[in-house]
């Protein structure tokens, strides 16, 4: 595929290194409940992914990271899910209100997605090879029909799918979780996307396979100059793969900045808590772990003030006086009034 990589894919806009590949600004997503009332689940989510960079969207279950990624792909469940406000720009182009036919060209082409459980996102009645061929047929007018199978083989090889000559004719159920994820990655690469969205791609995998997939994603990002939006709950994985991090809590981005600095010196109390509560290989065995007291509030019960206040060791009356905005602190953005310069 590397030779073909030089040819711009159909409909690709020029790759301007100065412009962020993905720019999400003030994005709010809501879901209609049984009565038709719309409950906002994310509010004012902003981040941007630069060319060739990996941004990790990190947070616990229900924080809105998958909803945000689905909104970026315009894959929110219909009819209940909807974008309430905000902007999503892909390569400078607004896609929030793009009509569906135009969107079909972008998905799989300009941006591609890899999901947590490849078994449910692969078509069970098509072989690994055919699924890659299909993406080429849909998104790569520059690859002639008679060359698609050969190109698909190359993509599987590139995704380090083991022994493609023998195994490419396998159906998803015949493959291991790691191999299925490699098929997903080959499919994602087929459209030569500028942005790869990976939603917990290694969470269902064993630790040794996870290490291989992370190394693979790093290599293909470098070779294709792709940008990656990597969604995970695991701070250890963040430290492996991310250039930039956006930490989400209760539907909001609470801290964003360069990975190395954010991990070394978290400024938001929630980020600090997340980093402290997972045991590490160098922590003292059997010592009491830091934990974040209480539980995450439900979307309908998000307070109008700081959403972390009820679990925060620093919270006082000022934290419960007004909504807290994301503001610049020491070269980062933090949603906490206590975070000082």
């Amino acid at each position: 595929m590397r030779e073909a990589g030089a040819v711009p894919a159909a409909g690709a806009s020029p790759r301007d290194p100065g412009l962020p590949v993905l720019e999400v600004t003030g994005l709010s997503v809501g879901f209609a409940d049984a009565t038709g009332a719309v409950v906002p689940v994310t509010a004012d989510v902003s981040f941007s992914v630069s060319a060739g960079q990996t941004l990790s969207l990190v947070g616990e279950s229900g924080c809105g990271k998958t909803v945000t990624a689905s909104a970026v792909m315009r894959l929110l469940p219909r009819p209940s899910g909807r974008i309430l406000s905000g902007s999503v720009r892909l390569g400078g182009r607004e896609i929030v209100d793009l009509p569906l036919p135009e969107l079909y060209g972008l998905r799989g082409g300009q941006m591609a997605m890899v999901f947590q459980e490849p078994m449910t996102s692969l078509n069970p009645v098509h072989t690994a090879l055919d699924q890659v061929v299909e993406v080429l047929r849909l998104h790569r007018a520059d690859v002639p029909a008679r060359e698609r199978r050969a190109a698909a083989f190359k993509l599987l090889e590139e995704a380090e799918f083991p022994d493609p000559k023998r195994r490419a004719a396998s159906y998803p159920f015949q493959l291991s979780g790691g191999m299925r994820q490699r098929v997903m990655i080959a499919m994602a690469l087929a459209g030569q996307p500028r942005l790869l969205i990976a939603d917990e791609p290694t969470t269902a995998l064993d630790v040794t396979v996870q290490a291989q997939i992370l190394a693979l994603l790093k290599r293909i990002r470098a070779e294709h100059g792709m940008s990656v939006l990597y969604i995970t709950h695991d701070m250890a994985v963040v430290s492996e793969i991310a250039d930039e991090v956006a930490v989400m809590y209760a539907g909001q981005v609470v801290e964003t900045g360069p990975a190395s600095r954010l991990l070394a010196e978290p400024l938001h109390p929630y980020t600090r808590g997340l980093l402290a509560c997972a045991p590490r290989l160098d922590s003292r065995p059997r010592a009491r772990l830091e934990s974040i007291p209480g539980t995450v509030p439900a979307p309908a019960g998000y307070p109008a003030w700081c959403r972390f206040a009820d679990r925060c060791p620093l919270a006082d009356a000022a934290c419960r006086a007004a909504p807290v905005v994301l503001r610049p602190v020491r070269g980062r953005h933090v949603r906490c009034i206590k975070a000082g310069p």
Binding site: E60, V207, H233, M235, A236, S239, R280, P285, S291, V296
Partner: protein, 272 residues
């Protein structure tokens, strides 16, 4: 063995709480072409002493859960022996396993699957007491209140149903039920894998406190190597149904001897 106490039971002045000797488990698997045998466990030997935590790590299919099920005789192993305080329980019929059922309790990965959704939490915790103890109804209610306090749930939880609780709270219910009979051994099969990290820390802290308070022995099974290191005195590394390395926790993580252990440790994300 390196580091921790030796596994040979004869060297103990008292027999270990629970011991597995050359444990094997085969399953027959139906195929279009007849049956094939799957060797889930091959000659696993290990022991658990009082007040000790034995960690078991391994990847999917390594036999971790099969081992747990065998240790507490939810499976009857196809080979080898299991000894509870020196008594062979490998082939005991179910009705004679009462002592084991009281001494050893299990906590599973997903409390949503292991709690009866149609029973209020108080009844779930009470069930082992009804079956195994001769406590009066009033004494059982008292015990339930005490257990809810112990695991950090409000007493009002007894009247509510499992679905009204979060994952972490449900795991607390599972722990309360496991503790109801005051067991000496808790077998925890991936007890925090379904939980968010902040909640995971709460449950790990609770298990460590309970162990200190009640002198519990714990078999702690997980695919998360950092968590196992944090919880365990000794660690057994399971690979394709065999223990490839068993040693003190510090020893395993700083001086792994087996090639497979080294590879596992090298795969941990974010090593610094």
């Amino acid at each position: 063995m390196i580091g921790g106490p030796p596994v040979e039971h004869r060297e103990f002045p008292v027999p270990p709480l629970l011991e597995a000797r050359e444990l094997s488990m085969r399953f027959s698997q139906a195929r279009f072409s007849g049956h094939t045998m799957v060797h889930a466990l091959n000659g696993v030997s290990l022991s658990i002493s009082r007040n000790e935590t034995l960690g078991i790590v391994g990847e999917t299919g390594s036999g971790k859960s099969t081992l747990c099920f065998c240790l507490v005789r939810l499976y009857r192993p196809t080979g080898g022996r299991i000894l509870l305080e020196g008594q062979d329980i490998t082939r005991l019929p179910e009705r004679r396993l009462t002592r084991l059922r009281r001494a050893a309790q299990v906590i599973f990965q997903d409390p949503a699957d292991s709690l009866n959704p149609r029973l209020p939490v108080g009844t779930i915790i009470e069930e082992p007491l009804v079956i195994q103890s001769d406590l009066s109804a009033a004494a059982r209610r008292e015990r339930i209140r005490g257990l809810l306090d112990t695991v950090g749930l409000p007493r009002s939880a007894a009247e509510r149903y499992p679905h009204e609780f979060s994952g972490g709270q449900r795991q607390r219910v599972a722990i309360a039920r496991a503790l109801a009979l005051r067991p000496s051994l808790l077998v925890c099969d991936e007890p925090v894998s379904a939980l968010d990290v902040s909640i995971q820390a709460q449950i790990l802290n609770l298990l460590l406190e309970l162990q200190k308070e009640y002198g519990l022995s714990i078999v702690f099974v997980s695919h998360d190597l950092s968590v196992v290191r944090h919880m365990s005195d000794r660690v057994a590394v399971l690979h394709q149904g065999s223990v490839v390395e068993l040693a003190g926790s510090e020893e395993i993580y700083t001086r792994p001897r087996h090639e497979y252990t080294r590879m596992l440790l090298a795969s941990i994300p974010g090593r610094r």
